[in-house]
Amino acid sequence: MTELSFRPVETAQDVEKTSRPSLSYWQDAWLRLVANKRAMTSLFVIIFLILFAYLGPLVWRADHTEQHLDKTSQAPWVNRNAILIAEEAEWEDVVVADPTGTHQAPMSVEVIGEARTTSVGLKWDAVPNAAGYRIYRHILEPKAGFPLGLPIGETEDRTHVSFQDRMDIQQKTYWYSVAAVDEDGKDFEEFTSVEVRPRLYITVGEALRLGYITDASKVEPGDTVLLDWHPLGTDYLGRDMLARLMKGAQVSLSIGIVAPLLFIIIGILIGSVAGFFGGAVDSALMRFTDFVIALPFLLFMILFMVWFGIEAGGSGIPAMVVALVLLSWPGVARLVRGEVLQIREHGYVEASRLLGGSNSWLIGRHMIPNTMGVVLVSFTFAVPATIFTEAFLSFIGMGVVPPTPSWGAMCNDGIRTMEKTPHELLFPALFISITVLAFNLLGDGLRDALDARLRSRE
């Protein structure tokens, strides 16, 4: 028999026409992903977040490091109308003659000049037999027999009958109470209160410097100017929250996405190899995994900081990514290995092997795609976890350097002021939640798209 004895079968043309062009696995997956509305929306959200981080600062030009100590922890909706005044006057103590009479509390307490958010000056008439006065500040109207509020200051002489409060004054109603104190420092029973509502003031010089007015001769004290708007409020040091969230997005998104991506890849590789080959390979790799899980993270983080030679004020981000990648993969590796152990027992794997599939083909084509479900779940959970790890490390000086913000660090700051000024926690937490939600939904979409078994169903 020669070769010619066999004639190749004519390739059948147009015998059976499939209704759609044949698609590769990846093309098909992509099409299914695009068809998934939720996943696509999530994808756009993620793109938006990235734009927010990198293009945002070009649009919203507020400086994320600039501090405004006169408007700290300001809510977005706070009144921004400031009254112009000439230069601040020097504060002078009011001293009166030794009083006579029998009264126990000052007859009256009054505000000197205007009550400002920068300072509130008080004066009162002297009380005989007093050793001094104690001044309280309250946010509710004080009642006799109840505490008078925050002891904001003391004077040590009954003839000194004035006090200037500059302690973190906000635009809201305060009640100042003045009580005379005796030699032992105990308050007299009676007190006198005054209700004060400090307003926002700005000196002409300051307004000029900040560019609210251009010509000092065109304005008069008493005019109002509208101060800068902070759409998401300000933080503890009066910095613009929106600008900080944008800057913080750069840190949090890059760390929160890059580190998990890298360690998940390592985890997949080690996990699938261990699960697939089993035996001694599995044993060795899994014992190594146990070893890595048990290493004290913080200690190794410090080690990497030293290795990278990070100097004072230098960013610890590279060291942090390395530490995260090198120490965080075991969780994924264990999960993937567990999945692979199950998958390799499936019939189709055996079939593929009998058809001559190489090990790398089996791992790459059958094992890894089928572990995508758990891998994507791990990834979406690793994102916020990494963001918070970064915040914790930055907190103890091993991450981003101040004043560079990050979402996690802003959250940590916000937690402390949660009750008083919730916006400082709300906004960064919201951004993290949105990011996590987007990755979750996208992850779900991806999983569905990559899952070959779902092909027939949807």
Binding site: T65, E66, Q67, L69, D70, T72, H138, I139, L140, F146, P147, G149, L150, P151, I152, G153, R166, M167, D168, Y236, L237, I302, A312, G313, G314, F395, I396, G397, V401, P402, P403, N412, D413, R416, T417, M418, E419, K420
Partner: protein
Amino acid sequence: MTDTLHTSKPPLTASPGWQLTKFAFYALLLCVALLLLLGFLTEKFNVGATSTSAVNFEKNTITLSLTSEPPQMDSTRATDMVSGMLLGHIMEGLIRYGPDNEILPGVAESWDMGELAGTFYLRKDAFWSNGTPVTAHDFVFSWQTALNPATASQYAFVLYPIKNGKAINIGEAELDSFGAKAVDDYTLSIELEQPTPYFIKLLAFFTYLPINKEFYESREGNYGTNAEDMIYNGPFHMTRWVHDKDVRLEKNEYYWNNSETRLDAIEFGYITPDPNTALNLFATGKIVLAGLNAENIERALTEGWRIETHSDGSVFYLGFNHREERPTSNLNLRKAIQQVCDPEELVYKVLKTPGNIPGKSIFPVWLRGVNGFFRDEYPGPDHKRNVASAQEYLQKALDELGLDEPPSLVFLTGDSAFSAKHAEYYQSMLKEKLGIEIKIDKQIFKQRLAKMTSGEYDIVAAGWGPDYDDVLTFGDLFTSWNANNRGLYHNEELDRQVEIAQQSSDPKTRMDAMDRVQHILYEDAAIIFEYERGSVYVFDDRVKGVTRRSVGTDPDYTRAYIEEEVDS
């Protein structure tokens, strides 16, 4: 998951939903059972308080919380404030501080103190909580133990004023050459190394507390680790110490002056560093005192709680690195930074809590001077922010340093939430006013200390708390021989003034010298005075007679009592 194969509706009990409900039911059952079991076990093995009220009238007990677990109660080794506070209640030294910080006789009934030697006559009715008398030997033993190199006590230096104290500690002299000797059981003679005018005040410090030798040795190295590993001679004795959980002190019936102790017990029922937790405990009526911070003051105001302030005695400052290779060794650069700093702005806008006092001197306001308060007699340098003058200084500094633009400086600080804000405040302020770039170096505790010691910084946020009630506890901080002078500041005039104050026993001479010190520090811009730390706290005003102190046992509940309920 929809199932299209089954067209007929399956019975409810066969649906997955039903299966899940069953699962949920069993899961819940399991959780509750486990909870009850663990709860039962915990309660069974639990020692200590579980639920207490802040003030218990029937039991004449008050409850408080601690911010941290005391590392140990061995007075020769204690270093921290929590241990110091507890030791102040359960032990008594030769003297103790009274409600107005006056010196009261403690175990010593009376004493003759000369310039270089003194004799202390111990009371015969002072007993340990196991009934044995407190003798002069107990003091000598305790002090020798602290000085013994094998003990490795960090606070041994407090005993150096006693003759041969230092020599013993560094292993150059034998224990029996020690300057403190028990003449008999109730007479203690002390020789000093050199005149130490404040020596009597030192005796209230915890390293000077007595320890019973026989008992100490019977514990074989475990002294001070548990309530039963100690005996007590103070107004209270410790009856329980569950690590990291709670400490209970009860009135010590063996205490010689127990008629002055009015509480039957003090329960430190909680150990938590979280200020919000402490406030929540206060809110639910579990503890009588809780610290406030800038963020939760409003809550305290809304609730109508009594708020008080207290100065804790420590002084905070920015320390410069005076090593030659550092730009901060340049006087004009330091002056420039000093001139733009505004302690008032820092206190009012950054710290935001009353109780803190803008800093004007290394000496806090509560220190005593010649007759009255030191700072009333010697107000200290006048400081006001002056940006124009600062810029002049900066220009001079740049000329001297041969720089075109301001150098960037490393600002070393700690890892607390506040230290970050504090550093960022200076970073922004110095950049805006002087164009100086600040690199913030946040470090965890031990590494910050290591960097301070090795000099890897330009500016450091630092503070100093008093060890004893005398100007020198702050005054000698920047002498060239003080190991705490980690910035290596050196000024011969200052050293000389401190020597004068150390050697003289005339108050006026000493205070004059200290006045020079505070001016030198300012003129030389050796450090920048920031603030004297204060705290704001809520307090249950049914408890009276509590003493707050800037130095010594704080808060001091030894004479506290519960006010009778007026109504009911």
